[in-house]
Symmetry: C2
Subunit: 149 residues, 2 copies
C-alpha cells in the first residue's frame, strides 16, 4: 500500500490536564508568554466526534501555545467517553499524543490501519479535522493526524 | 528571580518503551526512514546519573529520530531506580517528557525549583547533560532541560 501524504515531523504535543486554566497559567509563566485563550471543542453535532467507532458527546477545554514548528495543546476532558477521559481516568495528568500533518484523511486512515495502527477517535474543527491513531502497541504512544482544509 | 536562558520551544519528545529495537523499526517504517542506531546510556561513573538526589546505576537503551526542530527519543529502561523505570512500571509504554534547550544548567535548575518545579533525575552524556523536572502537578508532564557544551 502506497504511503499517502503526511509530514514526517511533529507539529503538536497534547497534554491531558484536570484544570486547563491553572495549567495554561503555569505554562505561560514558564514560557514568558501571555496566558492563551481557553476554547471548547464543538458539540457532537458539529464536531461529529467518534470514539471507538461510535458518536460521543465528549468535549474538552483546550489551550494552545504556538512555539515555532510545534504547538503545546492542553486538553481538559469534560466527561463522556473519549480517549481524553480514558487517559485522565487511567493515568492522571500526562502527555497524550504527538501530532503530524496529513493531506487526505481517509487515505491516511486506511494506510495507518493497514500498518496495524487503528483509529481510536476522530472529529472535526473549524478549518480541519483530527484523528487519533492507537499507536500504543507498535509505537508506544497515540499519534494524531491533523488535516487543515 | 530572573529567568535564565532557555529556548521556549520543544526540541525533543521522549517515549518510554519495552523493546526499543522493535519500536525503532516500527517508527522507521512509518516515517520512511532507516532504522536508527540503538545506543546505551553511560554507566553511573561516567553519566553521574542521579535519581531523587541519589546516584543510581540505572541505564537505558535509546534510539533517536531527528525530524527537523524536534527529535523523537525512544527510551527502554534497563532496571534500577529511575524516572524511566518508574513510568514503565506505573503506566506502561507511554510518552515521558518534552525537552527544551538551556544554557547554564545550575541556574536553570535553581530557577525551575523556585517555580515549584523540582529536579527528579539528571545525568551527563557525551557533549552535554540533561535534567528531568517534575512538572506533573504544575504543567501536567515531565520537562527535560538539555544543555549542549
Amino acid at each position: 500500500m502506497t504511503r499517502p501524504a503526511f509530514e514526517t515531523t511533529v507539529t503538536q504535543i497534547g497534554i491531558i490536564v484536570r484544570d486547563v486554566e491553572a495549567k495554561a497559567k503555569a505554562w505561560a509563566a514558564i514560557l514568558g508568554l501571555p496566558p492563551p485563550e481557553i476554547i471548547i471543542t464543538d458539540p457532537v453535532d458539529i464536531a461529529q466526534t467518534e470514539y471507538q467507532g461510535q458518536p460521543t458527546p465528549a468535549r474538552a477545554k483546550l489551550a494552545f501555545f504556538h512555539l515555532g514548528q510545534v504547538s503545546i495543546e492542553l486538553i481538559e476532558p469534560l466527561g463522556h467517553p473519549s480517549t481524553w477521559q480514558d487517559q485522565l481516568t487511567q493515568h492522571g495528568e500526562s502527555l497524550h499524543h504527538i501530532a503530524m500533518r496529513v493531506r487526505g484523511m481517509a487515505e491516511n486512515l486506511a494506510y495507518f490501519d493497514a500498518q496495524g495502527l487503528p483509529l481510536v477517535q476522530r472529529g472535526e474543527f473549524t478549518g480541519g479535522r483530527y484523528a487519533y491513531i492507537d499507536g500504543g502497541a507498535k509505537l508506544g504512544c497515540i499519534l494524531e493526524l491533523l488535516e487543515q482544509d
